[in-house]
């Protein structure tokens, strides 16, 4: 802001605070409800801050509901997906960044279009396909499906990041007789490190957040992930709001942690992801 009076500045910050508070109120309220006594949740009188802070909702989210199992399933799916999607996307991203060839635009389109089209036309037959392979309701099945869904974004981002690297690096490596494997994984991969971090965070969050894929490809606690588990909390007639809000807060935790400790990378992934696709 240019030179402005302290009063104007103060008003501006008050407006900012109100905007952020009102917009984020739903999540603020969920987080505060996760530590609010049950009788206050059911009280007809509104209060933002709990009069007493309790942790029992987290305890019952873990002991009464299978939250730990759901979280570990979510991590067992999300972490491999991050690794596999980037490794499988690297050759494609490199080819699109470094080569000119006849089918380039068509092939690129055939990859990135998958990021925009509706999921249901793929997921319903994919359920039948996975079922025929015995992969429904398995962690492996979810990893395979999610890896495929995350490759297009990774190819796109890697193409952009590799474009920014000077060509001389890999050309001189080629002249020295380095294999394509060496160039991709020992030279290019370390150089696009910060970009990889941004892709990894985005792919992790999108897998962690996913509901539709896991809803269709899982039936039981064997492979059910946290978001699907959360929706099951509500399936019962009487919803247990306290533990549900505690589990929701846990589901929000990775995003909040990235927002605090990796703001730069999250922002980079988000901006490129939104503007480039």
């Amino acid at each position: 802001m240019k030179k402005s009076s302290p009063l104007k500045k103060g008003v501006f910050y008050i407006i900012i605070f109100i905007v952020v508070f009102v917009y984020l109120f739903p999540f603020i309220y969920v987080i505060l409800t996760s530590i609010r006594p049950t009788d206050e949740i059911f009280s007809p009188i509104f209060s933002l801050f709990p009069k007493k802070i309790i942790t029992t909702h987290y305890v019952s989210a873990i002991t009464v509901y299978p939250t730990i199992k759901l979280i570990s399933n979510s991590l067992l799916v999300s972490l491999p997906v991050v690794v596999f999607s980037i490794l499988l996307a690297l050759p494609g991203g490199y080819a699109f960044a470094r080569y000119q060839f006849r089918l380039k635009k068509l092939l690129f389109l055939s990859i990135i279009i998958l990021r925009f089209i509706p999921l249901i036309p793929i997921l319903i037959p994919l359920f039948i396909f996975m079922d025929s392979l015995g992969l429904v309701d398995t962690i492996v099945g979810l990893i395979i499906a999610h890896t495929a869904f995350k490759i297009p974004f990774a190819v796109w981002m890697l193409k952009i990041f590799i474009n920014d690297l000077p060509k001389e690096i890999d050309e001189s490596a080629k002249i020295d007789g380095a294999s394509m494997f060496t160039i991709l994984f020992k030279i290019i991969l370390p150089l696009v490190g910060p970009g990889i971090t941004a892709i990894a965070i985005m792919n992790f969050l999108e897998t962690w957040n996913d509901f539709t894929v896991a809803l269709i490809l899982t039936h039981t606690l064997d492979a059910r992930t946290l978001p699907v588990g959360l929706s099951q909390f509500m399936a019962e007639y009487q919803i247990d709001w306290g533990p549900l809000n505690a589990a929701s807060t846990l589901a929000l935790a990775p995003l909040l942690i990235f927002a605090i400790f990796a703001e730069r990378y999250l922002m980079k992934g988000l901006t490129l992801g939104a503007v480039k696709g």
Binding site: M1, I16, V19, V20, Y23, L24, P26, F27, Y29, V30, I41, F46, L88, A89, L90, G92, G93, A95, Y99, L107, L109, S110, I112, I113, L114, F116, P118, I120, P121, I122, I124, P125, L126, I128, F129, A145, A148, F149, I151, P152, V155, K174, M180, F211, I216, L226, P227, L230, S231, M234, S248, L252, L255, L256, E263, L266, M267, L270, T271, A274
Partner: protein
């Protein structure tokens, strides 16, 4: 550029590594979905070939027509709503103030939150007994008795749109913010020197500059409206009385509740076709970057 043809050096073999998983896991099911859409199949017996019967059903069924219209309204209200709110946020964030980075990341949180949590949150806030919205309205004496936001056949759809606006706004903010930051500052300064009002600068410099991004936001927003599933599934399951069903949720219902995989695939293939047609204007933008 001379490159050895043999081995995995060529671009096609490199792309093959990235494309193969997509062909097996995504494109093969898509094709299988076309075949399934031409059959009657309840998973219990073998699929029976029925030609285009399922498509005739999709185009003639009155419920599907209603669901299709709801999907259009859903897009037509939520995207402009999110656009206006996102524009406000972007203009606010475009000012250089201390703490702008923190505010920026905070305003983006709803976009990257698990949509199940978003749906659950709104279901909780809008709950007739424990929901904060009713509690606030009652304490302000704006209403006399609790409102069943998500159980009322008319209100539920409005609530769904509202939740979607809340969720989609940060995407608009992100796009517009990067557009605003790309506007050459000297143009705005020159106009200011010439005595142009802020409103004139906004209408004659900023908006024309942002036009391609605005087109992109509306196109991708409309396409995305045919992908929304989670928040509706969690908030209302498409009810009450189908009043919040849109095409993806209804296709899911046909497949996994009615166990009519043929019709479900036919409906979702039509949805896919709609999305592809809507995407046509931005395809060039999507692939047409300089290399």
């Amino acid at each position: 550029m001379k490159s050895p043809i043999k081995g995995i050096e060529g671009p096609y073999s490199l792309i093959f590594f990235s494309l193969l998983p997509l062909i097996i896991v995504l494109y093969y099911p898509l094709l299988q979905g076309i075949w399934i859409s031409l059959t009657y199949w309840s998973l219990l017996s073998n699929p029976v070939f029925v030609g285009v019967n399922n498509y005739i059903f999709v185009f003639s069924d009155l419920t599907i027509r209603k669901v299709f219209l709801q999907n259009i309204y859903f897009a037509a209200f939520s995207i402009p709503g999110a656009f206006l709110l996102g524009l406000g946020f972007a203009l606010l964030l475009n000012r250089n103030f201390k703490g702008a980075r923190i505010v920026r990341i905070l305003l983006l949180i709803p976009y990257m939150a698990p949509s199940v949590v978003t749906g659950m949150t709104w279901r909780f806030l809008l709950h007739d007994q424990v929901g904060a919205i009713n509690k606030i309205l009652l304490s302000l004496n704006l209403i006399q008795s609790p409102i069943g936001w998500l159980t009322d056949i008319n209100l539920a759809f409005i609530c769904i749109i509202f939740a979607r606006i809340w969720q989609f706004t940060p995407f608009v903010t992100l796009c517009l913010l990067s557009g605003l930051q790309a506007i050459p500052q000297d143009k705005i300064e020159a106009a200011q020197v010439d005595g142009a009002s802020s409103f004139a600068i906004f209408t004659y410099i900023i908006i024309p500059f942002l036009r391609p991004i605005i087109l992109l936001i509306f196109t991708l927003g409309f396409v995305d409206s045919f992908r929304v599933f989670d928040i509706i599934y969690v908030m209302t399951r498409g009810g009450p009385a189908l009043s919040t069903q849109i095409l993806p949720t209804y296709a899911y219902r046909l497949a996994f509740y009615s166990v009519d995989f043929g019709s479900a695939c036919a409906l979702s293939n039509v949805t896919l076709l709609i999305a592809l047609i809507l995407l046509l204007p931005v395809l060039k933008y999507l692939v047409g970057e300089k290399d």
